[in-house]
Amino acid sequence: MKRPAMRWTVMVAAAAALLVPEAARAQAPPPATPREMVAAYEALADTILGANKAEVKLVHAILAATYGHAQGEVARARQALKANDAAAARAALENVATAVGQIGTEGDNAVAGVRKRLLQGGHHANAEGERQGIYDDGYVVVTKAAKQAFLDSSKALAMLAREPKAEALDAEWKKVEAAWAKHIAPAK
């Protein structure tokens, strides 16, 4: 089995030799890439890889801020329900629904605009995950499964805002907490 491989190697080498210009063959091998350039490229690589990590952290921070906002609105909704203030409860619950939806879509429309710009530039944070159908295009943290869980809760909360009830809020919020713990909280 080795013989054919060797034969191919020889043929490729011969072909390469034929293709290399005469003058180049006569000279010494090309000089190594200057160390300064390699160092600069190393530094750039650090920056690029660092930027990718920073992107993950930033998106986590965006999600955490949104989740925190949702927690605050849940507390506000509970207070309003206790006080029988239906209008305030409705407003707070709608805010909870919006925030939970934004977790599902990995940020609001403004964040989507940034994500679109990155995609336009060819940047996919999870290219392999997208290929495998795990992530939507350009999503960094939120998987499709997580997205669906948050979107379902978002809708349930939005509908609940029509007729706010404390028990229903508690039940749905538990689902949100569980989804958060499962999909988002473990920092990458």
């Binding site: 336009q120 997205k147 669906q148 979107l151 978002s154 809708k155 509908m159």
Partner: protein, 582 residues
Amino acid sequence: MEEGRGRLGQAHRARQVAAAAGLLALTLARVPAARTAFPAAHFRFVDVAARAGLTRVLEAGRPGKDHLLDSAGAGAAFLDFDKDGRLDVYLVNGWRLEGERVAERGRNALYHQRADGTFEDVTDRAGVAGEGEWGSGAYVADYDNDGWPDILVTAFGRNVLYRNLGDGRFENVAARVGIEAPGWNTGAAFFDADGDGWLDLYVAQYVDCTLEDVLKAKRTLWWKGLEQVAYGPFGLKGAPDHFFRNEKGRFVEATEAAGLKDLALGFGFAVRAADFDDDGRPDLYVANDSDPNYLYRNEGNGRFKEIGVTSFSAFDGNGMAQASMGLAYGDADGDGIPDLFVTNFSEDFATLYKGLGHAFFEDASKTTGIGPLTFRPLKWGTALADFDNDGDLDLVVANGHIYPQIDGHPEAIGTYRQKNLLLENRLRRDDVPAGAKPETLFRDATAEAGPGFTLERSHRGLAVGDFDNDGRLDILITALDSPPELLHNEGAAGSWLTVVCEVPGGTAIPIGTRVTVTAGGRTMEQDIAAGDSYLSTHDPRPHFGLGGAETADEVVVRWPDGTRSVRKNVRARQFLVVKKGT
């Protein structure tokens, strides 16, 4: 215009489907016994465009469709610009390109309908050829409340607003009134956002690109590894939509102030204004290509809040953004709550968002049969309309692909030129016993819909209207590099009532007016809109199929200012004129 991305079959999806099926069964169980007896094949549409004189070829870039603009197409409108009671036709045209050269700037066309049902080209006399712009959509509204319908032509370039002078001529006032909005303008909707009696305007934009980008475009996107096709829209920059507040006939850019800033730069196509949450204020839905759709809820005082995600109308039932093109609005399942129908790319289903009330929706595409029936073609203009007058809303969809290159591989997903689709609503059909649950709400009636539905072209815009005033709705459809199709409805049809809403001394078209008709034990509602389908405007006269009923028990017209006009015991088969204040 991205390849289909919808996915069915997930576990939670199955639960959603089961829930939706339950809702549908409940809905159908409430259907009254009065049903319409028709032969199985009762639809018949015949293309009479050439015979009637509608011959303008609509140009669309290069034959190879190297840029998305080459294949976006243009729309059409039914309107009665001279108020003679007969519908006229306006067609929007694009440009013809040869390589990197502009070969011809297509001219728009205004056709005036004669008494004999044929059309006369009055474009030059009226002065509405399109000002040399690459046209997109046609939207008809009386923006200045002078009693004459005006025409907005959205364009790749500058929008054109043709003010109707009332004597058969128009003048372009877009620059003067401030709505030129250079860019790739597509869908639009006139609606009174703040209730001041003046129609405001939302205009969607698609991709941020220049004419040079279009002319120099090369096909670089690999389609299924077989052919290189036009690139985008993924990887391109979206262009921001605009909202203009109408201040007594002049428009002021108010996008951000109204809360309508297009933060995600969605690739905007179709726009529809309607009172989705039934609070008396018009809301706004924007169908985006490859991006989540927007639903802007009117919060009052001309302010809006985007609630697409929480209303469940941004994504399909699987949480996926679809490549949306056109839309229709109406009560498809007869439960009294209007639904939204959105057309999408090929290899993805069109989505029926079942209205749940209060601007909540649920993806009922699969349970209603729409999903499998619409999966394969690339879908554009559309309407929910009662073509057989049996009292339920059928669906028509204009189809056509954007890549001519797929013709080399017809086994993959079909061809570039496609037949349109007619889906019959079975809610009122007598082949489904009252109270029984049909397999699906819609069935494919295309094959039995006559020669008009055998035409294979790359269709785009679609407008519905009763152009010959015979009580049966006809269909006007545009196609790339082709003259339009005017599908004359010659099918068997039930009783009907068309309501003509007039405002004496006021607007020519009372957009936002809602008409409710009760007849034969059911209640149906239609609204008047400018901005619907794909780049097109329908007949502004609400039309109702009454099935076997020869009398409407009640007709209620709710005018945009909240006042009502009520008529009782109205004879069917007529154009009922209802004047505001009476």
